[in-house]
């Protein structure tokens, strides 16, 4: 299958007064057309920054090296006009916090139509009709009224629906959803996830779902990438990774999920310790300090991401011949 997004040896650094922060370290993966990929990891694991790097949305002090290709075109260092075309038309992105991701000073309609006017050369009138349709298709009640409202007049769930409708206006090949439900109420989370599942069924596009919620990935994704300290540590189909985790970190994550069938007095399992400081990453495996299975070799060099079976990767020496 053709891949829509190919990331190769991506490294992203932020320069700060305290020194360089390595947010993304040597990340390689690809997303195929029409598949949905979950990217999981805790805060600071670099999961969002991979895609910010790809779309040229890094903060000013960030710098990405390596290669990110959309349909074969290199996106890093691409001229602004060409990049705008890709991120406006071919890749849609929705963000974590719908409260702050819409412009508070502009009406919903303006924020939607400008996309069509810019990229499709639509007239304001056509763009408005299209925007209305888009709001309808994401299940916003009373869309004609919402169109002329300001973001502050909408609830969090509705704003996220507006974000999704906006990202889909130009029918992108790839939708990147960066923690789309984190900032929402639990019931609204379920509705938005339902909407995303619906989009996946009815649209001809690939979805990347960035989340720290393994449950969300299980429900929505075909494949999953697990990230830790800016590296991919495990990769595979959702089924493989969930039932047969090969990296100790993935195992720890799965074990620390609360279970409905657990006895009430059983303490929630946790992974001991803290993620490493990204300014001073250890020479070896970034997880070794917290890893119950670590041995000397783990502190020598970071374990490479090795292919265990077709499409199944893990970055741990445990599987390596001793």
């Amino acid at each position: 299958m053709a891949s829509v997004l190919t990331v190769n040896a991506l490294n992203t650094r932020f320069s700060t007064p305290e020194g360089a922060v390595s947010a993304v370290n040597d990340v390689t993966f690809s997303v195929d057309a029409r598949e949905s990929v979950g990217v999981v990891g805790e805060s600071g694991s670099g999961k969002s920054q991979v895609f910010m790097s790809a779309l040229g949305l890094l903060a000013k002090n960030g710098q990405a090296h390596g290669s990110v290709q959309y349909a074969g075109d290199e996106m890093l260092g691409m001229p602004e006009t060409q990049l705008n075309r890709i991120r406006g038309v071919h890749i849609g992105m929705i963000f974590q916090d719908p409260m702050t991701s819409l412009n508070p000073y502009l009406r919903v309609v303006r924020q939607m139509t400008e996309v069509l006017v810019e990229h499709k050369g639509s007239t304001e009138q056509d763009a408005r009709a299209k925007s209305l349709q888009a709001l309808e298709s994401v299940g916003i009640p009373d869309p004609a009224k919402r169109l002329d409202q300001y973001p502050y007049e909408l609830s969090g769930g509705m704003r996220q629906r507006v974000m999704i409708a906006m990202a889909l206006l130009c029918e992108p090949q790839l939708l990147i959803a960066d923690e789309p439900t984190t900032a929402l109420d639990v019931t609204v989370q379920a509705q938005i996830l339902e909407l995303l599942a619906d989009l996946k069924r009815h649209h001809d596009m690939a979805i990347v779902l960035i989340t720290h919620d393994l449950g969300v990935v299980a429900g929505l994704c075909d494949r999953v990438l697990v990230m830790y300290a800016g590296r991919i540590v495990e990769q595979g189909t959702v089924r493989d990774v969930f039932y047969d985790p090969r990296h100790p970190y993935t195992l720890g994550l799965l074990e620390s999920m609360p279970r409905v069938d657990a006895a009430g007095d059983e303490a929630l399992a946790t992974i001991q310790g803290q993620p490493p400081n990204l300014q001073r990453l250890p020479r070896g495996c970034a997880f070794s300090e917290r890893c119950p299975l670590a041995w000397e070799r783990c502190d020598e060099a970071p374990p490479p991401l090795r292919e265990l079976a077709s499409g199944r990767y893990s970055a741990c020496y445990r599987d390596a011949p001793r």
């Binding site: 705008n84 038309v89 702050t100 991701s101 400008e114 810019e118």
Partner: protein, 309 residues
């Protein structure tokens, strides 16, 4: 919005009343009076003069008479320029002052916002540092130092512009006073805009605009500028007050026939009515401008609404 504006105007009445009261008693605390001369006047004549202007009445009666007059739109005669009422003097100074202050504030807004935005967009570059260093200097140098310096350089050494005077309203005569008056405001607005622009550029909604593939110009002008300008709009109220107090100094230095110069002359001559009249005029102007600023705020920020629901 109209109801809100009217309410605000009503609230301004007690404010003005307090200003009138404080001004009335403060100017009278200052030693000397409008008709004190180095050479003593015969007591009979002095008595007659004081009686003519009601200055022989007890202070509280003078106060009530004055407030009564003001309520009827009568600000009294000037004690110094006998043929003029206070309103005549204000009207005669208005064109010069209005031009001076008006142009200064327009320049302050235009150049301040442009320089600030430019500095923010090239943050931490040498242009940014240059603009900010200039702005810091502009804020740090008081106008009574800046004005003579400008006169010295452009008026005396280079002989490019008139040193002072109104010159029958010639443009060349306005350039230096306007610059001296506007510079600190340009500098302050530039700093304000830069800071607020940098903050706005890091907002999530600006990132969204970029993610939508909009051109940089649209991202800045349509998405970032409006949010970034809100603090600048708020500052326009205090800026007016600063322009007014600045104009008092600048008009005196450049011998500019505006209201500010009447104010200073009035204060030196103990011309009570002129000082009070100009004070009330300035206060009204500042109150009105602050109201305008608040109304403009509602136009920029949809969350701010003055109608009661």
């Amino acid at each position: 919005m109209l109801a809100y504006a009217l309410r605000r105007l009503l609230v301004a009445v007690p404010t003005l009343f307090i200003i009138v009261t404080i001004a009335f008693f403060m100017i009278r605390i200052a030693p000397g009076g409008p008709f004190d001369r180095e050479r003593a006047i015969p007591p009979e004549i002095e008595k007659n003069i004081l009686a003519a202007y009601d200055l022989d009445l007890p202070l509280w009666q003078q106060y009530l008479k004055y407030v009564g007059g003001v309520l009827q739109g009568d600000f009294g005669p000037s004690y110094k320029y006998r043929d003029f009422t206070v309103l005549d003097l204000i009207a005669s100074g208005l064109p010069a002052s209005l031009q001076l202050g008006g142009i200064a504030i327009v320049l302050a807004v235009l150049f301040g916002i442009t320089a600030g935005t430019f500095a923010a967009l090239s943050q931490n570059s040498r242009y940014d540092y240059l603009i900010m260093a200039g702005a810091m200097t502009g804020i740090a140098i008081p106008n009574f130092v800046m004005a003579p310096l400008l006169t010295l350089v452009f008026g005396v050494y280079l002989s490019l512009l008139p040193v002072a005077g109104w010159g029958d309203g010639a443009l060349a005569n306005k350039i230096l006073p306007v610059i001296a008056l506007a510079l600190p405001q340009i500098a302050y607005i530039a700093r304000l805009t830069r800071g607020s622009m940098i903050e706005t550029l890091s907002q999530n909604y600006v990132r969204t605009a970029r993610a939508k593939g909009l051109r940089e110009r649209i991202v800045i002008v349509r998405h970032a500028l409006r949010g970034a300008l809100l603090p600048v709009v708020s500052y326009l109220g205090p800026a007016t007050a600063q322009i007014i107090t600045g104009s008092v100094v600048i008009e005196t230095i450049f011998d500019f026939p505006g209201i500010g110069r009447h104010f200073v002359q009035g204060a030196l001559n103990r011309d009570y009515t002129v000082v009070m009249g100009v004070m009330i005029f300035y206060a009204t102007l500042i109150i009105l401008f602050n109201l305008l600023v608040d109304l403009a705020y509602a136009l920029l920020d949809p969350k701010v609404k003055y109608e009661q629901r």
